[in-house]
């Protein structure tokens, strides 16, 4: 019995793998919302996101979830945040922390064309071409009549 208790104590005291954290979506454009979440050790009362690198408050308190030790918070990335890859630290109240990677990406698509190789349909040219075909057909009909 003594050894069993000692073993349990050792498991409880052994350094765990630490909290697991996530950010969703992991890619956002400036101004967009992201949700940080973390699973701290059971019984931990609070957790926060270190927002300084993202241009957010230094400590963003997270809201506790239904399960003990689980927290999440949704924030908008400021429009002034410079694009790039950010390693964001999420800190549990017991002093442990985890790091998530968030990419702040350029907005929209990439303007990569001047348009020389693309033309919309030219209706005037289409009509003119059709007119020439009609004249040609009429001429051919006339010739056929004369030769017949």
């Amino acid at each position: 019995m003594q050894t069993l208790l000692a073993a349990l104590g050792a498991v409880a005291l052994a350094p765990s793998a630490g909290p697991s954290a996530a950010v969703s979506p992991d890619t956002v454009t400036p101004g967009g919302p992201v949700t940080f979440s973390v699973v701290c050790a059971e019984g931990v009362r609070e957790a926060d996101v270190a927002g300084t690198t993202l241009g957010l408050p230094e400590r963003i308190p997270m809201e506790p979830g239904k399960t003990s030790g689980v927290f999440s918070v949704t924030v908008n990335i400021p429009t002034s945040t410079q694009e790039g890859t950010f390693n964001v630290s999420i800190d549990c109240g017991d002093g442990t922390s985890a790091v998530v990677q968030l990419v702040v990406a350029p907005t929209g698509g990439v303007p990569t064309g001047g348009g020389a190789m693309s033309r919309p349909p030219n209706h005037a040219l289409m009509a003119a071409g059709g007119g020439l075909l009609v004249i040609g057909a009429a001429g051919a009909l006339m010739l056929r009549r004369r030769t017949a």
């Binding site: 990419v103 929209g108 698509g109 348009g115 190789m117 349909p121 001429g139």
Partner: protein, 211 residues
């Protein structure tokens, strides 16, 4: 009507030729009147990339070679502009490819982004004009500043509307080394002077040579 036929009832050559010329001109004009667009892209295929495959160090790209479409071009650094959009090399340097400097370098873990023009109004086809013709399995080699080279294999070729540009796929985190080649595609909007879509080619690292 004697202009059109000879007195013996046979066709005169000149009017007959004139009619043929009219028909040819008419068909040509109709043909030219139907719009054109850069090469179409096939339906995208799924990813086949190996996970956890990447080079150790960062080194900026200096040249990109895509032999399947005859591309061998210098690479310069590009960044986001004041409007928050990625700025490709200037239209006067449409033979150059731009590397998004805030992302990973080609060969590093993550998505390295290379952008190039599809065409310019002044000079016609540009460096990535044929990008949409690439097929899964085609090779892309990037020479890096430290003398090393990274070779990628195309996983997918896709066309996206710019309003639904896949930021996560192109810029997002990735466990292995990937390359995202981006150019314009789809319909050209005369009034906004830009293409409405982006062609995105995704490739995975298959081999590398040290510097």
């Amino acid at each position: 009507m004697t202009l059109l036929v000879r007195p013996d009832g046979r066709w005169r050559a000149l009017p007959a030729l004139l009619i043929i010329a009219l028909v040819v001109a008419g068909v040509t004009m109709i043909g030219r009147s139907l719009g054109t667009a850069p090469p179409l892209v096939p339906a995208g295929s799924g990813f086949s990339g190996i996970t956890g495959n990447f080079m150790a160090g960062a080194s900026a790209p200096v040249r990109v070679v895509i032999s399947a479409i005859g591309v061998d071009a210098p690479v310069e650094r590009v960044d986001v502009g004041d409007d928050g959009m990625l700025q490709p090399p200037s239209l006067s340097e449409a033979a150059r490819v731009g590397w998004y400097r805030r992302g990973p370098t080609p060969g590093e873990r993550g998505n390295a982004v290379l952008v190039g023009h599809v065409d310019t109004a002044a000079t016609g086809p540009a460096v990535f004009y044929e990008l949409g013709r690439l097929k899964p399995g085609d090779g892309v080699t990037v020479a890096r500043q430290d003398g090393s080279a990274a070779t990628f294999r195309v996983d997918s070729v896709q066309l996206f509307d710019k309003t639904s540009f896949p930021a996560g796929q192109v810029y997002g985190p990735a466990g292995d080394a990937r390359l995202q080649l981006v150019t314009c595609g789809g319909t050209f909007d005369r009034e906004r002077e830009g293409y409405l879509g982006n062609t995105v080619v995704t490739a995975s690292l298959v081999s590398s040579t040290p510097g």
